[in-house]
């Protein structure tokens, strides 16, 4: 993985010192809260419902063993013994004290981490496919470009005060596990007809109160031109993005108002200007230098058949876990293992300090010192020898991390909601937990197949409800929590925005309503259709009829 050079190290250390001084001045009263707030936000520090919250950048979701152990240390020393992995592959601590934050940042810098680009109207931490460098069919490891984009965007003087935040995601395969079409810029690594590798650039995707699937702007951007092209997109946005209305300030509004053709035309004018200067041309040597950091580990030459693995499949629990939580690796004899952070009845994405330490040990023992955070709030060991999987599973079981539900109905994306968040209108975690409990029967889950529930506690959609096969949005109705259901969203390569079903449900009705959606699907489905496919075939009406028939009194 990427290692800091002397510039990175100095930059992060300078930033820690700078923020320590800002905190000192704030506490002495030399800075007012109005002056201090933008500074703390630029360092990932929010004031939430109960306390401060610190968001730590996990660039493209990749972590080393040392970094996992440092999270455990920070959770114990400064927080309440746990952390939370977010839908942007980051880590959040919910209970830091302002006076401790400089020390936390210093401890993070010790392991090449920071909170830069986790808040504010800048280019945010870049996200990528969690199976990067491991999955078959990948054109190129998306973390190489992600790291290049990170270096270009961090402290970019022109883009430090954009109209609004700006999120970039990169995928290296046809299958989209990074929700690229729901980002301000989504980049898909592709090959053209001549067999050259380049980039397809989508612009203007997003969730929030105005959800959009991104527009295809760059059909094929050559590798050397990608930074110039991204800079051109950001220049158009920086100049014309609306600063007068926060709800219309994201690039999605500008791009969709102009339309793909006009937006592309404007980008191409800027792009031609930047190209003339020639300074943003990405040298092949520099790309190779960065790529070297992401060179795969030295894989053993193994047969894909593993007697240890095959023998373990006789164990029902292992077989169930293997069915959903393992993905084929590009190298024979290896597998990609997803560690679900969706234990039935637990908080999606939460992990205790002890679990962080224990997972770090598993990374040492079985995982080439590396782990990935997924935007679905799970962890992934990207390279595990198949013969080690039974031992890995046994250990996960002891740690209560062996839940066999990746991609199933209980693998719910869920924002912190009103239990923690200052912006939330309703709780999301307890609803996720109740849905998990209702559908905890594994046979039933397998029968339902791939079914993605995504839930947010407010319109800002951190829980990606617009992209859920079933989306749930919590709203406040005169101080009482209500939940709206959406159907038909997808954050994958077949991206779509879900459609609102109708009036919302109270917190004691929503789980029954979800069960009726699922029952409706089972009545309607043909062969092995997913719920999403059934919805796309039959539309909303049959679902709506079945869901509301039993609840005609459902509140508005």
């Amino acid at each position: 993985m990427y290692r800091y050079d002397e510039f990175d190290a100095a930059m992060v250390r300078d930033r820690v010192a700078q923020f320590a001084y800002q905190v000192e001045r704030r506490l002495k009263g030399e800075l007012t809260e109005d002056e201090f707030k933008p500074l703390r936000l630029k360092n990932g520090l929010y004031l939430q419902l109960h306390s401060y919250m610190l968001r730590i950048a996990v660039p493209y979701g990749t972590l080393s063993t040392r970094q996992m152990r440092q999270f455990a240390y920070i959770a114990r020393k400064y927080d309440r013994g746990y952390g939370h992995f977010t839908t942007r592959q980051n880590m959040q601590f919910h209970w830091p004290k302002l006076v401790d934050v400089p020390a936390i940042l210093s401890d993070l810098a010790d392991v090449e981490m920071h909170c830069i680009q986790t808040s504010g109207n800048c280019v945010r931490n870049v996200t990528a496919d969690q199976f990067a460098g491991a999955v078959a069919g990948e054109i190129e490891d998306p973390r190489i470009l992600s790291e290049i984009v990170r270096q270009w965007s961090t402290f970019h003087p022109e883009f430090n005060y954009l109209p609004r935040k700006f999120k970039i995601a990169v995928s290296g395969t046809k299958e989209d596990r990074a929700a690229v079409k729901f980002h301000d810029i989504g980049i898909e690594i592709i090959k053209n007809a001549a067999g050259e590798t380049g980039y397809r650039v989508f612009v203007g995707g997003g969730m929030g109160r105005t959800p959009y699937v991104a527009l295809l702007i760059g059909q094929f951007v050559a590798k050397e031109d990608i930074l110039a092209y991204l800079e051109a997109v950001l220049r158009v946005y920086n100049e014309y993005g609306r600063r007068d209305n926060i709800h219309k300030a994201r690039v999605k509004i500008l791009a969709h108002q102009l339309g793909a053709d006009e937006f592309r035309r404007q980008v191409e004018v800027e792009f031609a200007e930047i190209k003339k200067g020639g300074t943003l041309q990405l040298p092949a040597e520099e790309m190779a230098r960065i790529a070297a950091y992401f060179a795969p580990p030295e894989f053993e030459v193994l047969s894909d058949a593993s007697p240890e693995f095959d023998a373990a499949l006789k164990d029902k629990d292992f077989a169930n876990w293997a069915k959903t939580n393992l993905t084929a690796h590009k190298i024979p004899g290896y597998a990609i293992a997803t560690i679900s952070l969706k234990m039935i009845g637990a908080t999606p994405g939460d992990i205790s300090a002890d679990q962080l330490d224990a997972v770090a040990q598993l990374m040492d023992n079985f995982g080439y010192d590396e782990i990935r955070v997924t935007h679905e709030q799970n962890l992934v060991l990207p390279h595990v020898r198949k013969k080690d999987l039974p031992r890995l599973f046994a250990r996960l079981k002891e740690l209560n991390l062996s839940t066999a539900n990746a991609g199933l109905i209980t693998d719910i994306i869920c924002c912190p909601g009103l239990d923690y968040c200052d912006l939330a209108n309703a709780r999301s975690i307890p609803i996720a937990q109740k849905i998990q409990e209702r559908f905890s029967d594994l046979e039933r889950q397998h029968n339902l197949g791939e079914l993605k529930i995504k839930m947010s506690g407010c319109i800002n959609a951190c829980g990606h409800h617009h992209a859920g096969h079933i989306g749930i949005l919590g709203v406040d109705k005169k101080g009482v929590e209500f939940y709206q259901i959406q159907l038909g969203g997808s954050g994958a390569e077949d991206a779509s925005v879900g459609e609102i079903m109708g009036p919302g449900f109270g917190k004691d009705e929503i789980v029954d309503a979800i069960e009726r959606v699922v029952d409706a699907y089972l009545n309607l489905r043909q062969s092995d259709e997913r719920l999403l496919d059934t919805y796309r075939r039959v539309g909303m009406a049959p679902f709506k009829n079945l869901v509301y028939r039993e609840q005609l009194h459902a509140a508005y």
Partner: protein
Amino acid sequence: MAKVVPQILTANRLRDGEVVYWRDGNWVEAYGEAQIFPDDASADAALAAAQDFVKRNIVVATYLFDVRADGSPVKEREIIRAAGPSVRPDTGKQARHV
């Protein structure tokens, strides 16, 4: 005439973010000890007095919220804020009573 709703004044302590409530010219941590203002005039006077603590960098984000006659918050948000995350009874103010 608008209905009179009792209110409570709250803020976060600057140093550590702790949720605090106003009581008789100072701040307390426990919701149960918060002062209940029966009308807008007394609530607004407390909010004005609290600005001195903002200026002295002791608290941030002061605001008033509505409560019922028995002192319990009208909105779920304030119930959760007063106790801690409903999914983690071992954290927040509620943990002190376990």
